[in-house]
């Protein structure tokens, strides 16, 4: 992989001076950071710091009043969510969102939607291109399921699964899309300690296997410390610190924001 003069991989995502105001309240005030390609990048901050808002800006769920987002050097401002997904930017949500009443396999295959090229009539009637695509989709999904330990559950209805496994399916759908950049919004929310550890291992394993750049949004600093090579800390809609987890967690401003004191 190519690197810059400082030996870092090039930035796959460049976020510049993003400002968002919601109902007169400033959610983000000039946020800028780069996400290096192929990294597991952490975005941390206390509740209300603006983490999910910046995710929503990157995935075009909301439009910022100011600023730009560049992906692989291409300006994304003005493009919609679907266009960004097709460009390779996928995301998960804090609240698990699955195709209820459908199987794990169907949920994972939904991630392959961004590669759909076959039209309506060919989809219904069947075509060689469609069958080839379906075989490729199934192969990728089975590989992702194997990495996440979901192989035995592919034909189970997601409604019948416990919460932790539903989380894995949610993350798996995003990995099945073979993302270039995957935004995971507090994937461990609502999980107990054991499930958090297993989920994190699964994410790291899937990231290594697919080579995707993963931006992990968390308020649990311990999880980011275990997983990420580089992190940005947000507080009150601004970047408070950036660096390795050890560096940012030693920053007095970060300690003040998290613990209310600088010597914690």
């Amino acid at each position: 992989m190519a690197t810059d003069k400082a030996g870092r991989p090039p930035a796959v995502l460049e976020v510049r001076d993003i400002c968002v105001t919601v109902n007169g309240v400033r959610a983000l005030g000039g946020v800028s950071f780069d996400v290096p390609e192929g990294s597991l990048f952490g975005l941390i901050g206390p509740n209300g710091a603006g983490k999910t808002t910046i995710m929503n800006v990157i995935s075009a769920v909301i439009t910022p009043q100011q600023g730009s987002v560049r992906f692989r050097g291409e300006e994304l401002t003005g493009t919609g969510t679907v266009a960004r997904v097709r460009a390779g930017i996928l995301r998960s949500f804090q609240q698990v969102r699955l195709l209820e009443g459908m199987t794990v396999l169907d949920n994972l295959l939904l991630g392959r939607e961004r590669f759909r090229v076959v039209g309506l009539l060919r989809q219904i009637g069947g075509s060689r291109t469609g069958r080839r695509q379906a075989r490729r989709d199934l192969a990728v999904v089975e590989e992702v399921a194997a990495v996440l330990g979901l192989s035995d559950l592919l034909h189970r209805d997601v409604q019948d699964l416990p919460f932790g496994v539903r989380r894995l399916v949610d993350v798996g759908r995003a990995f099945a899309a073979e993302p270039d950049l995957l935004l995971l919004d507090e994937p461990a929310a609502g999980l107990d300690v054991t499930s958090r550890r297993l989920l994190l291992e699964a994410i790291k394993q899937a990231q290594r296997t697919t080579g995707a750049t993963v931006m992990l949004v968390e308020h649990d600093v311990d999880m980011v410390r275990r997983a990420c090579g580089e992190s940005v800390v947000l507080s009150n809609g601004e970047v408070l610190a950036r660096g390795t987890p050890a560096e940012v967690l030693a920053d007095p401003a970060v300690l003040r924001a998290y613990f209310g004191r600088s010597d914690a």
Binding site: L98, L99, L110, G111, I124, D152
Partner: protein
């Protein structure tokens, strides 16, 4: 490629189709008419299921598409000498295009407000057919000349039954194809939430309009057969109550399930007749309402959902538990 399915699975289509072939040979003419009506309802309900049960868009305009099909067939049978096949194609295209038009508001609004907007289209259709009486026959409607292929015409009830059966099976095949392919998954995603759909790369605009178009086309096909089997078309057959009747049938049978449409169609055609034979036809609406309320509470997924649950339990019996289910306890879905 050799068929690797078990003999039982290979035989299943034959076992399911056999009653459709044998039944008309055993039924008297009125029962044959009832069976034909069930098959017509199946097609129309599957159309509604695509847009409501699968894409999650509440529409009460299904009667409009059936009406478009029926009036297209009536008008063509009176003014042209084309085969019923041409009528079916023309009706499907016109009804499909009309459905796309009806679906356009779905891109902006949803839920009850959309249902009211689709209701407006039903009223618009009623206004058109009663106003342009020179073409539509106004409130009196139109008589339909028997159609068919050469000497085989719908004047023979068996032909009407056969036509309805072929189209109902075609609609069933279509919805089975949709179920496990990317279009079906896109619809399921849109039904779940626009945010989930778009975040997976699904175009909500294309998906909703596709659902409306397929729904309209099936409604149009059902309308052509209905016109020929009934022998006449009047605006009274395509009111908002007709749409609501289809919606009730779908909810009773089970939304998003192939056999739900078949069960629902059988229910709404046979139950009124059952009450009539018992000598209490006026009790049907009351009992129907009570059954609907009870079903919505006890089995919100409709009759088909109960059958599916039983089937799933039988299939899963003896499956070893997945190690993941014990290693990742998480907590129960809230």
């Amino acid at each position: 490629m050799p068929d690797r399915r078990s003999p039982a699975r290979r035989l299943r289509p034959v076992l399911l189709l056999a009653p459709l072939v044998v039944l008309p040979l055993l039924l008297d003419s009125f029962s044959l008419y009832q069976a034909t009506m069930i098959l017509i309802y199946v097609t129309a309900i599957i159309g509604l299921d695509i847009v409501f049960g699968r894409a999650g868009v509440l529409s009460v305009a299904q009667a409009v598409f059936i009406g478009i099909g029926a009036y297209t067939a009536a008008w063509m049978s009176r003014t042209t000498a084309v085969s019923i096949g041409v009528e079916l194609i023309v009706a499907a295209v016109i009804a499909g295009l009309a459905a796309i038009l009806v679906g356009l508001p779905a891109l902006r609004v949803s839920g009850l407000r959309l249902a009211i907007l689709t209701f407006a289209f039903v009223e618009l259709f009623q206004w058109v057919v009663t106003t342009f009486a020179s073409v539509t026959g106004g409130t009196q409607g139109l008589l339909v000349n028997p159609g068919g292929f050469g000497t085989i015409t719908t004047a023979d009830p068996l032909v009407g039954y056969g036509l309805a059966a072929v189209i109902a099976l075609l609609a069933t095949w279509l919805v089975i194809r949709l179920q496990r392919n990317p279009i079906g998954r896109s619809m399921a995603a849109v039904k779940n939430s626009n945010l989930l759909a778009e975040s997976a790369g699904v175009s909500t605009v294309r998906t909703k309009l596709t659902a409306f178009m397929l729904s309209g086309m099936l409604g149009g096909l059902a309308g052509v057969v209905l016109a020929h089997v009934s022998g006449s078309v009047t605006p009274a057959g395509f009111t908002v109550f007709s749409s609501l009747n289809l919606l009730v049938a779908l909810i009773l049978g089970g939304t998003g399930r192939v056999h739900g449409a078949w069960l629902g169609a059988a229910y709404v055609v046979l139950m009124p007749e059952l009450f009539a034979r018992l000598g209490i036809p006026n009790a049907y609406p009351i009992v129907n309402g009570a059954v609907l309320m009870l079903l919505l509470v006890v089995m919100p997924g409709g009759i088909a959902s109960v059958l599916d649950r039983i089937r799933d339990r039988v299939r899963r019996r003896g499956d070893p538990p997945s190690p993941l289910l014990t290693s990742v306890p998480g907590r129960s879905p809230s």
